[in-house]
Symmetry: C2
Subunit: 342 residues, 2 copies
DNA sequence: ACTCGTTCTGGGAGCGCTCCCAGAACATGC
DNA sequence: GCATGTTCTGGGAGCGCTCCCAGAACGAGT
């Protein structure tokens, strides 16, 4: 009763037989190598089309030692990631860029320390050719753990722990904050405060630093003028309220993220202050789904997640190919998108 | 110069040799099969530990015809997904549930029709054992395309097109909307409107239907009392403004999503109406990052994305194992989380 | 002693592919 | 004619694993 099922997937051998050539020639034709006669190539491609052939990845990667897959690792506690459209943009861009290069994207979340052994074991297991990692938290032990592996890894943003020697693609957070603060100064604001991010975040540290630098360059006071939010809207609102108590006469705010800027606007409205007439506000991220829905539309430091991800993938592909690109740390420029809030 | 590199990954043969048994016995010991003496099993496990052995997945799946990977396919245009924390919750839950079962999660986005061939080709290619698909849009051609494949597929939510014969795990949208409207009626509201979702969305259709049913059961008017938002906050605000013009004396609103409910609250505030004193508001989704930040906290129809995803995975695993679970269409119950907005 | 039955073991085959290498086919030079 | 390429082809080997099957080892019953 062993009648041959038509449901069997055709193999390379089937394609070769159908095309009247050998397995080797079929393989060469499909992999677009040289040393294949046009006649043979045509025949093989036609056969593959007719039979609906698609190569068995398992067999291929068994010999090439390549899986054609890349892991995207997001290391942030659940609550944070859920509210952050940034990660979704990153995921989409990564998927798209990888798919265009014929690679698959394997997503992994790391919620807590317990997930780390599983993650490293997985990466060591040879399931993927490399990994893109976002671990924005300073205390995160993941980067250190991954450093020991032989798997190529590229980090998005500056990881807080032991970033030395790692491949990273970061934004110019210092420069962006500097840009924002300078813009406020040019708008003749003289009483500038900041709602900064949590200082266990390298990105938040850099943004605070840039703000401080710009103000110091113009001889303006920085002490006691920074309040930390937690990168969320409610956190931004609370921080702004505290700042207003301390500096009732402030005339400009640099918020280290767009959601916090939204909170800032709320707090200002609650205090009866007009934007930008009484107080100018700048955000950071230039998140399209936030800046345009706010009233007034928010001036914000613009960064390009797509560019970051594509950069990371380029570097990773070099590493996978065996090259060691320099420099290890790349910093992408940011710009300022000026709107009605300043 | 062919000195053996210590960087070489150990194979099963190495483990067997180290343990002093054969390849077959080593395989049996590691795969926890019977017919292995305790002595041999111990030796093999110790050897695997000592050598840091992890099996080559490619080689394994070449013979087992299983990849141990499942695709998660999200079919929604970019703009929608970015604002929707629902998808991120789904992704995390799916990752976690699959990882616990030893399976990998491969994420794919389908933005437009052009992505469909790539997606089907990929699924046909045998890269994954099955797929979880979210395609909430009614016109989406993806479900029909996937129907023709031999790969097990389970849908989240009722796909608009040709849902007959597909495996689906949906929420009781009709029941949830009915629950919400009935609750408003019990709160002695007599002038109830709804901000419904886009009617090319099966879920939105169901929610409108449930609202209509509840009102009809109590002999209340439904004509001219539904305005469509696009599931976003701004859409909800606009729809509410239109409803207020038409029914200035309305005293309750059922919004078919939480973001739209947020817009409803904004519009009501702009019209100087108090919630819940003048107007009661119910949302849908019970999105934790929305309902608690609104003022007042929002009464909303509660659903459990985690339960949905786990259900989908259970069914998918059955299908992969070769079973055909019945019924094909599962509907999960929803409840009402009552807060201060009603 | 011998047959059974059960538990355990090792080797062979083979999954579908890529790589290597020997050699065929063809053109080009003297 | 023969030596010398260059282009093209097919078969063999082998990647690391699982499965099958023959047979060893061991006990228990006659």
């Amino acid at each position: 009763m062993a009648s041959s099922m038509s449901a069997e997937r055709p193999t390379l051998e089937d394609v070769a037989a159908y095309a009247g050539v050998s397995r080797s020639t079929a393989s060469r034709a499909l992999n677009e190598e040289s040393y294949v006669s046009p006649r043979a190539r045509e025949a093989v491609l036609a056969a593959a089309r007719d039979l609906g052939y698609s190569p068995n990845q398992a067999a291929r990667s068994l010999v090439t030692k390549r899986t054609g897959a890349v892991a995207l690792i997001l290391s942030e506690p659940e609550s944070k990631v859920l509210n952050d459209p940034y990660f979704l943009m990153v995921m989409r861009e990564a998927f798209r860029a990888l798919a265009d290069g014929g690679a698959q994207m394997l997503v992994m979340f790391v919620d807590n320390r317990d997930d780390i052994p599983r993650t490293t074991r997985f990466l060591e297991g040879g399931h993927v050719d490399g990994a893109l990692v976002f671990a924005p938290h300073a205390g995160d032990p993941l980067p250190t753990a991954l450093k020991l592996l032989r798997v190529p890894v590229v980090f998005g943003g500056r990881p807080g722990t032991a970033s030395r020697g790692l491949y990273t693609v970061d934004y110019d957070n210092v420069g962006g904050a500097h840009l924002a603060a300078t813009h406020l100064i040019q708008r003749h604001r003289r009483n500038i405060v900041t709602v900064c991010g949590p200082q266990d975040h390298p990105a938040a540290q850099d943004r605070l630093l840039g703000w401080q630098k710009a103000l110091a360059e113009h001889g303006m006071p920085i002490d006691d003028r920074a309040e930390s939010g937690d990168f969320t809207q409610t956190g931004g609102e609370a921080a702004m309220t505290r700042l207003l108590e301390r500096h009732p006469d402030l005339d400009a705010v640099f918020a280290a993220s767009d959601p916090m800027a939204a909170g800032v606007l709320q707090a200002l409205r609650a205090h009866g202050l007009r934007v930008p007439d009484d107080v100018a506000v700048v955000g950071f991220d230039d998140n399209p789904s936030i800046v345009h829905t706010l009233k007034p539309p928010l001036t914000s430091v613009h960064q390009e997640p797509a560019a970051q991800v594509r950069h990371m993938i380029t570097i990773l592909q070099c590493l996978i190919a065996g090259d060691a690109p320099t420099p290890k740390r790349q910093v992408l420029p940011v710009s300022l998108a000026i709107r009605d809030s300043t």
